[in-house]
Symmetry: C2
Subunit: 142 residues, 2 copies
DNA sequence: ATGCCTGCAAAGCTTTTGCAGATGC
DNA sequence: GCATCTGCAAAAGCTTTGCAGGCAT
């Protein structure tokens, strides 16, 4: 349950934190912007400010509870860290996000880092394309 | 020369465009922020506004002359498109950027896209780590 | 009781835009 | 000459911060 994970992160268990964690766990969108979370709070009639959403998400990130990604489009998206690393493939038309993990690629990255004298601390791999979902509006971005 | 490439992009050949393209070609930094370009213009005593730098870089991007990347840190970086696709490895301590190309990874990406029913239009692979450069300040980011 | 949290409003940063004058073709 | 371009300043969009009051422990 949320309470424990928040306390374990060294944070006080407060209503905003509980609610935000709950939303991240329950939402069908696994990748949400701060605005998305905020709107969902509004929908649930919670009186929590956008600034708090940002603060809490940043704290959760520092605590390793969530990951922050920078997809195209300026807004950061947040995703609950479920412990399984993966990369992303994003549809440029409908915004759908799929996750994938490729052992070969992960291995190559290590090799490349070594060859360049780097110790990898993190990486970001995002594929952008057009998905074949029939419901995808497949409209070119303006 | 610059003149031809600008005209070919369907843009009028103007002093700001020439200068900006020149800077991108001459700078030892292959990855520059708009601010970097602007500062270099100042250094060269050109009276070109930051807004123009952004406008021109965006036009160059649309024309395929430059690529825009979003490394960590909020600012976009621009890089002359020299025709050879590559990915990036960025030092979190000193900001140094190395380029690499791995055929295996590129191939895997295609395979992953196919498996997920996507047609890839673009991708972004950035490794973040610590470089072993003796001059690297190797200080942890605050 | 104390120190951490929150809401609000204001500020910060990067990037974009409106407009009037300037410039390339 | 006319459309495109530029500089300036203002606006926009996302995110952070200051502050005074509120809440968890």
């Amino acid at each position: 349950m949320e309470e424990h994970r928040i306390r374990q992160a060294g944070l006080k268990v407060t209503l905003p934190r509980m609610k935000i964690l709950e939303i991240l766990e329950q939402s069908p969108l696994r990748h949400m912007t701060a605005e998305d979370v905020y709107k969902e709070l509004i929908a649930r009639e919670e009186e929590i400010g956008l600034a708090t959403v940002y603060r809490v998400l940043t704290q959760f990130e520092a605590a390793g509870l969530v990951e922050r990604h920078h997809f195209e489009g300026g807004q950061a998206v947040f995703e609950l860290d479920r412990g399984e690393h993966h990369d992303h493939i994003v549809c440029l038309d409908c915004g759908r996000v799929e996750e994938f993990l490729d052992k070969t690629i992960e291995g190559c990255q290590e090799k490349i880092a070594r060859k360049n004298g780097f110790r990898i601390r993190d990486h970001s791999l995002i594929l952008y394309g057009e998905c074949q979902n029939p419901k995808c509006p497949n409209r070119p971005r303006e």
